[in-house]
Amino acid sequence: MGLKRRTFLKGAAALGAGTAVGFPGIWIKNASLAQAAGGEIKVGVLYSLTGTTAIIETSLNQATLMAIEEINAEGGINGKKLVPIVEDPASDPATFAQKARKLVVGDKCVSVFGSYTSASRKAVLPVFEKYNNLYWYPTLYEGRECSKNVIYTGAVPNQQQKEFVPWLVKNFGKKFYLIGSNYIYPKEENNVCKILLKELGGEVVGEEYVPLGHSEFSSVIQKFKDTNPNVIFSTVVGDSVVALHRQYKAAGLDPAKMPMASLTTSEEEIAAMGGEFAVGHFTSAPYFQSYDSPENHKFVDAFRKRWGKDKTTNFVSEPAYFQVHLFKQAVAKLGSKSLTPPDIRMASWDQEFKAPEGMVKIDPKNSHTYLWPKIGEAQKDGQFKIIQQVKEWVEPLPYWAYPGQVCTPNGLENKKA
């Protein structure tokens, strides 16, 4: 006859009771976080440890935790230890929002460090704006955002392209083919690129978007051969980067004459595609692992010592690292005053820190960061050779391509004509 209903109900009740007794934690709200208030500063760490973007976000998680450990080892901030509360939103924007709410409302964190994809940032924004908390976002993104509850430590398009595009035009020529993945980041970057090209008298011979994860580029390469650009300006991401580079070389194209210039190809993608397919192409980013500065050597060595000697650092994990130090400086400045997120935000303005990439500063106008874009040429061993570095830090202008709008400390405003 199978399981009788009564037996089933008895079993279920027993299981439930057993669980409750065996795990007293579920009776005590936030049992794992019960701790003395005062003497500790709670911060949220919100990077995906599982799911599609886990690989890159794990490195962000690791960089953040390493920074927190460094700060605590030096005695914390004004004698108070930083307590990281780590949540795994599993690469799903809806889960990001849910975990954010838990960190902000349930755990009462004074700040949260998190997000890689713009989708996840957009998903958590309402939480931070509703509860007036503070989100620290380390990833390069498309700009065009000006929230009073976010501090942006990643590069925006004007920072990535201001030196890069003129350098490309000067060294290779004026005809650009723009290829990107089909979502907002490549489109905004291409927007900026087109404006820069127009100023330089350049020409866009093609602009095209392929679906996310697309890996069949034979038609695209045919178009390259047809239109003969001087530079292929690539903003494809993920799998597409690897596929595009491989098929480019397999088709016999020459990076000395038609290099790919990217904003998203990092040491990670080169390892996946194989050094010989990456050689001769360029990336613009504020940070490369090969950058020669004492702070960077210290950072890379410490990262390897902490997480494994084959680990690499990249242009997203470095901001994840230095933003925690900027946070620390802001909190230290507040001293014994009460720590609320809006106070921390204001205290973070004009904070400077000697990051692995150079001295960085948070811009009070828009809560973005002054950064040091560099141009790197990919080498066969998987690292980048830094061809050029800006002479002084570049101001972040998240609305550079939209002259009618400007980001102010009070939010987005329209410029008076």
């Binding site: 095209e208 069949e216 596929a243």
Partner: protein
Amino acid sequence: MTDTINQLFTGLSIASILLLVALGLAIIYGTMGVINLAHGEFVMLGAYTVWLLQSQFGIDLLTCLVFVFLIVGAIGWLLERTMIRRLYGRPLDTILLTWGIGVMLQQAVRLGAGAQLRYVKMPEFLTQAVSVFGVDQSAYRIFILLLTVALLFATYCLMFRTDFGMRLRAVMQNPEIARCFGINASRVYSMTFAYGAGLAGLAGALVSPLKSVSPDMGTGFVVDAFMVVVVGGVQSLLGTVVSAGILGQLSGVIAFLSNDTLAKALVFFSVVILIRFRPQGIFAMKMRRG
């Protein structure tokens, strides 16, 4: 002239990759009526097997191919024996089952091998471009094209020139009567599923140096493979070949004239139109079903 040659070759290349992936599916779907949504994951397993063999044992790609066929074929055989055979004649349940298997395989690979993109080495002598009719083409793509033709020929020989093939075709037409003739239908099913899985694994192995290796690479392939099989007509090998050719060339041409995103959308749209007016596909096998 260069343009036309380029276009032709692009279309052929896309078509050959489509055919490679769809061949296994066509055989499984055609023979057993099993809608194998895990087919993309077999492709992915093939790619990961190559990566594993290359990174652990340093075996080059061409030698790996044999192992890949055997290993992924064995996995397919195992799945058929343990799970899929219980659901013959229940297409909706098979869809759910194979979908579940696909998800599990994907996550198992993600847990086991990690989610990052993996590196598979292209054979040295194929990395360059060769000149075909005066136009530079990728040597590796030509290699895939030739291998696809070879596999097609091998499959044809298997189906029409061997004893096993005869039994397979008998079971395809009418399993009950075939059983009356003393054919072990369940053994035929297992071997067929294994063969189809092995072909999918080979497809993954061949495609991996040209594209990338990640746990979710299979999803794109299974969708394209189903389109090819459905358009070509179930149970028709020739139909699969023709439809791969048409769809490959079509997406190549549209992508060249506009872009890849639009090409994907339009190809889907044309498939829908075709199926609306000719649901049995291009080449339909006339048969009486009991």
